[in-house]
C-alpha cells in the first residue's frame, strides 16, 4: 500500500462522538455515537462513554454516513499507468469519500475477459477501496461481437460498457441488451452519434461560434439516447445512460421512464456545475466528452436531479498527464479528474438550489448502489466500518497541490468548494482528509 499523509490502518478503538448518523440504506437519521474496533463497528448508541484507550473523533455538527460509490471512473491501468494507476486512483477516490468505484474498461488491453476483470479486482485488494470493474460490451471495444459477458460477471464485473466508444451497430447493441438480461446487469452506452458530432470540439452554441471551434450539437447525444431506449424498450433491457449532458436527452429519458422502461441515468459534477462559458479561453481541462453545454442544459440537469429523473452522480474521473492536455484544443485529450472535488462542487451547486443534504448524500450512496446493484457494508454493529464523516458547510479551495490523483487535469482548480469529507474509513483504513 502506498502511504500518504493522514492514511493509516486502524488499530484499536475509535469513538465517533456527537455526530448525526444518516444511514439511507437502513433509513436511520439521528444523533448516534459509533464505536469502531480495528476495522469493525462494535457499537452504535445514542451515547457511548469514552474510555482511556479510545481515540475520539469529535463529530459535532458533522454527518456520519456511508462511503460513496462512483459508478464511472477511469483508473488507466493496465496500459496508461503514467496517467493513473489502480493504487493512485484508489487513494484519490478515498480522499474524496468514495469507498467503492466502478472502473471503465478502456485500458490497454481493453477489459473484455474474465481474466482481466480478476486482474483489476486483485490489484485493488490492498487499497482502501472496493473496485467493481465494468467489462467491455464488445471484444476490444470494437463494436463488432459481444464479449464474454457471463464469464466477466462471474469474475466480478457489475455492468458492461464500451465506455467512450458508442456502440454504433444497433443490432450489436440489441444483442448486448438482450443477453445482459440473463446476468441482471445494466448496459451502459456512451450516447453520441459520431456523424453528428462531426469533429465538434465543444457544445455547439453561442460560445462555440465566438471561439470558432467546431460545434458538437446536443442532438448528437439525444438522438442516440432515443435509439438506445427504443431498442431497450423493445427487448425489455436494462439501460444506464452515462454522463447526461443535454436538456434534449432528459426529455427523451423522461418519456421512456414514464412508459415504465427500466432506465437509469447519471450526471457528472462538471456537467452539473459548469456551462460552456468555461471554455472562453480554450481551457483544455474543460474539454470533455460529451461537452459541457449551455446554461439551459445545466439548469435542466439540476431540475432532473431534484425530480429524480437523474438517479445519481458519477464523476467520469478521467486523469490525463500534462502532455495530453498541454496541446492545441483539437489534439488535447478529453476528460477531467473528478473524485476529489465531486462532493464539494455538487454540494455547493445543489445546496444553492435548496436541495437537502440528505438528498445530496443519497446521490453518492444509496442511489448509485441501486443502479449497479452493489450493496455496501451498511452502518450497523458487526459490519466493516465503511463510513464517511462529512462537514456539509465547510468552505475550501480545490488546490492543485492537494491533489492525490496522479494527474491534475480539472477545470475546477482554484474554485471554492462547499462541504467536505473529513474522514473516510474502509477495510480497516482511516484517512484524515483534512491534511
Amino acid at each position: 500500500m502506498i502511504l500518504i499523509k493522514g492514511l493509516e490502518k486502524n488499530k484499536g478503538f475509535i469513538l465517533l462522538k456527537g455526530g448525526r448518523l444518516y444511514e439511507p440504506f437502513l433509513s436511520i437519521d439521528k444523533k448516534n455515537d459509533i464505536l469502531i474496533k480495528d476495522d469493525v463497528i462494535v457499537k452504535i448508541n445514542k451515547s457511548i462513554k469514552e474510555e482511556k484507550n479510545y481515540k475520539v473523533i469529535n463529530c459535532d455538527n458533522n454527518i456520519i454516513t456511508n462511503g460513496f460509490l462512483d459508478l464511472h471512473v477511469h483508473f488507466r491501468e493496465p496500459g496508461f499507468e503514467f496517467k493513473e494507476t489502480i493504487k493512485t486512483g484508489s487513494i484519490s477516490a478515498f480522499y474524496g469519500g468514495f469507498t467503492r468505484v466502478c472502473t471503465m474498461p478502456n485500458t490497454d488491453p481493453v477489459i473484455d475477459s474474465p481474466e482481466l476483470i480478476k486482474f483489476i479486482i486483485e490489484e485493488s485488494q490492498d487499497t482502501p477501496v472496493y473496485i467493481h470493474p465494468i467489462g467491455a460490451i464488445t471484444k476490444g471495444q470494437k463494436g463488432l461481437e459481444i464479449s464474454e459477458i457471463g464469464e466477466m460477471v462471474e469474475a466480478g464485473a457489475v455492468a458492461i460498457s464500451d465506455d467512450g466508444i458508442p456502440v454504433k451497430n444497433s443490432q450489436v447493441l440489441r444483442f448486448a441488451l438482450e443477453y445482459a438480461k440473463k446476468f441482471n446487469i445494466p448496459v451502459i452506452n456512451h450516447a453520441e452519434d459520431n456523424c453528428l458530432v462531426n469533429d465538434g470540439l465543444m457544445h455547439e452554441g453561442k460560445m462555440s461560434t465566438k471561439l470558432g471551434l467546431p460545434g458538437n450539437p446536443d442532438i448528437a447525444e439525444s438522438s442516440m439516447v432515443y435509439r438506445d431506449l427504443a431498442i431497450s424498450e423493445y427487448v425489455g433491457g436494462r439501460l444506464h445512460v452515462p454522463h447526461v449532458s443535454s436538456f434534449k436527452s432528459l426529455e427523451i429519458i423522461k418519456i421512456f421512464r414514464d412508459k415504465g422502461v427500466d432506465v437509469t441515468a447519471e450526471v457528472t459534477p462538471h456537467h452539473l456545475s459548469l456551462t460552456d462559458s468555461i471554455l472562453r479561453n480554450y481551457d483544455t481541462n474543460a474539454k470533455v466528452a460529451p461537452p459541457i453545454r449551455s446554461s439551459k442544459d445545466q439548469k435542466a440537469l439540476i431540475d432532473a436531479i431534484k425530480s429524480g429523473l437523474i438517479d445519481c452522480i458519477a464523476t467520469d474521473h478521467a486523469p490525463h498527464a500534462n502532455e495530453d492536455k498541454d496541446r492545441d484544443f483539437k489534439h488535447a485529450s478529453c476528460g477531467m479528474i473528478g473524485l476529489e472535488s465531486a462532493f464539494g462542487i455538487v454540494n455547493k451547486t445543489l445546496a444553492a438550489e435548496k436541495v437537502d443534504i440528505t438528498d445530496i448524500i443519497d446521490l453518492f450512496t444509496v442511489k448509485p448502489s441501486r443502479v449497479m446493484n452493489i450493496i455496501p457494508n451498511v452502518i450497523k454493529e458487526g459490519n466493516i466500518a465503511e463510513i464517511n464523516i462529512i462537514d456539509p458547510v465547510c468552505k475550501w479551495i480545490f488546490d492543485q497541490n492537494s491533489i492525490k490523483s496522479k494527474s491534475n487535469n480539472s477545470a475546477l482548480l482554484d474554485r471554492e468548494m462547499f462541504g467536505k469529507v473529513l474522514y473516510s474509513m474502509n477495510k480497516g483504513y482511516i484517512l484524515n482528509c483534512k491534511v
Binding site: 452554441g205 462555440s208 471561439l211 470558432g212 480554450y282 496541446r327 492545441d328 483539437k330
Partner: protein, 310 residues
C-alpha cells in the same frame, strides 16, 4: 505617438473599438509610406520577428514579411510540416523554442482555433494571429475595414455583405466582430448549412438569397470557396454554387445600384466570382492587397514600436 491598449492581436472579438480605430488610422499613415520612393522606415530596427506558419500560406506570409522588412525588423521564417501539427506536439515545443530564441514578436498561423490565445498564456512577447483555424484572421479583417474606409470615407452606418462559406471562414468571423464594433450593418449570405446556427447572436442578419444581399449592400466581401469543401457533401457542385451564390457579372448587371466588391484572395475565378467582376471597376481587391501590407505594418509598429518612424 499613438498607442494601443492590447498586448497581442489575437482577434477582433477581444480588442477594443478604440484599438481597432487606431490600427486603421496608423495603417493609412503607413499607406503613405508605401507610396514613397523609399518605402522603408527604421521603426523596428533591431527587433526580431518570427513568422510561424503551421499551415500553408502564400499571400498572408508574404504580406507580413514585407510589412516587417519595411519596418526594418529582422525576420525569421518558420514553416512547420502539417504532420507535426497532426501529432499535436507543435504548440508546446513552439513555446520553448520562442523562449530560447529570444524573439521580440511572434506572427503565427495555425490550423487549430485558439492556438494563438493559448500561446499568449505562456509567452510574454506580442503574438499576432495570422489565422487560427476557423476562428479569426484579424489582420485580414483590418485590411478589409481599412479598404472600406478608404473607399467610403467611413464605416459606421454602411451595409456590408459577406457571401460564401461563412461557417468555415476565419475571415468572416473577424470581419463580423470588427465591423459590428465600428458600427456597420452586416448581412451574411451562405448556403444554410454553411452558416453557424448561432451567428445572429453576434448582431448580424442573414439571408440565403444573394440577390437580396446585393440589393441591400454598399459593399460585398466575397469569400473564397475552398475546393476541399467540395466532394465532402458540403457543396454539391461548382455549377450549383455559382447559380445560387456566385457573384457573376450577369447577376450584378441585373441590379441597378453599383456596389463595391471585395475578396480576400486567392480568387477562384469562375467559381465564387467572375473574372470580369474581379477585374472590373467595382472591385477594390488590389487595394486590399496594398492595404494589407500597410495595416500589418501598423499592427506590428503599435505592438512593438518604440522609435518614431518619421
Amino acid at each position: 505617438m499613438k498607442r494601443i491598449e492590447a498586448k497581442h492581436l489575437l482577434g477582433l472579438e477581444n480588442i477594443s473599438t478604440q484599438d481597432i480605430e487606431t490600427i486603421i488610422d496608423v495603417g493609412f499613415t503607413f499607406r503613405e509610406v508605401l507610396e514613397r520612393p523609399v518605402k522603408k522606415v527604421p521603426a523596428l530596427n533591431g527587433k526580431n520577428i518570427v513568422n510561424l506558419f503551421f499551415e500553408n500560406s502564400t499571400r498572408t506570409k508574404i504580406s507580413f514579411e514585407l510589412a516587417e522588412k519595411r519596418l526594418s525588423a529582422d525576420v525569421t521564417n518558420f514553416s512547420a510540416s502539417s504532420s507535426s501539427v497532426k501529432k499535436g506536439e507543435s504548440l508546446r515545443d513552439t513555446i520553448q523554442n520562442i523562449h530560447v530564441m529570444k524573439m521580440d514578436c511572434v506572427v503565427m498561423r495555425h490550423p487549430i482555433p485558439g492556438s494563438c490565445l493559448q500561446l499568449s498564456n505562456y509567452v510574454d512577447v506580442p503574438i499576432v494571429n495570422a489565422g487560427d483555424g476557423t476562428h479569426e484572421h484579424p489582420t485580414q479583417a483590418l485590411l478589409d475595414m481599412m479598404s472600406i474606409k478608404e473607399k467610403f470615407g467611413k464605416i459606421k452606418g454602411l451595409n456590408i455583405g459577406i457571401v460564401g462559406d461563412i461557417l468555415h471562414s476565419r475571415v468572416a468571423l473577424s470581419n463580423i466582430f470588427g465591423l459590428i464594433k465600428l458600427g456597420a450593418n452586416v448581412k451574411l449570405c451562405a448556403p444554410p448549412h454553411l452558416l453557424q446556427r448561432h451567428i445572429e447572436d453576434y448582431g448580424v442578419s442573414i439571408t440565403y438569397d444573394v440577390d437580396e444581399l446585393i440589393d441591400w449592400a454598399d459593399a460585398v466581401n466575397v469569400l473564397r470557396i475552398q475546393r476541399e469543401r467540395m466532394g465532402v457533401g458540403l457543396i454539391p457542385s461548382i455549377r450549383e454554387y455559382r447559380k445560387f451564390f456566385g457573384i457573376t457579372s450577369e447577376r450584378l448587371s441585373r441590379h441597378k445600384k453599383e456596389i463595391v466588391i471585395m475578396h480576400p484572395g486567392p480568387i477562384n475565378r469562375g467559381v465564387e466570382i467572375d473574372s470580369q467582376v474581379a477585374d472590373g471597376d467595382q472591385a477594390i481587391i488590389l487595394d486590399q492587397v496594398l492595404n494589407g501590407v500597410a495595416v500589418r505594418m501598423s499592427v506590428l509598429y503599435l505592438l512593438l514600436g518604440s522609435n518614431d518612424f518619421d
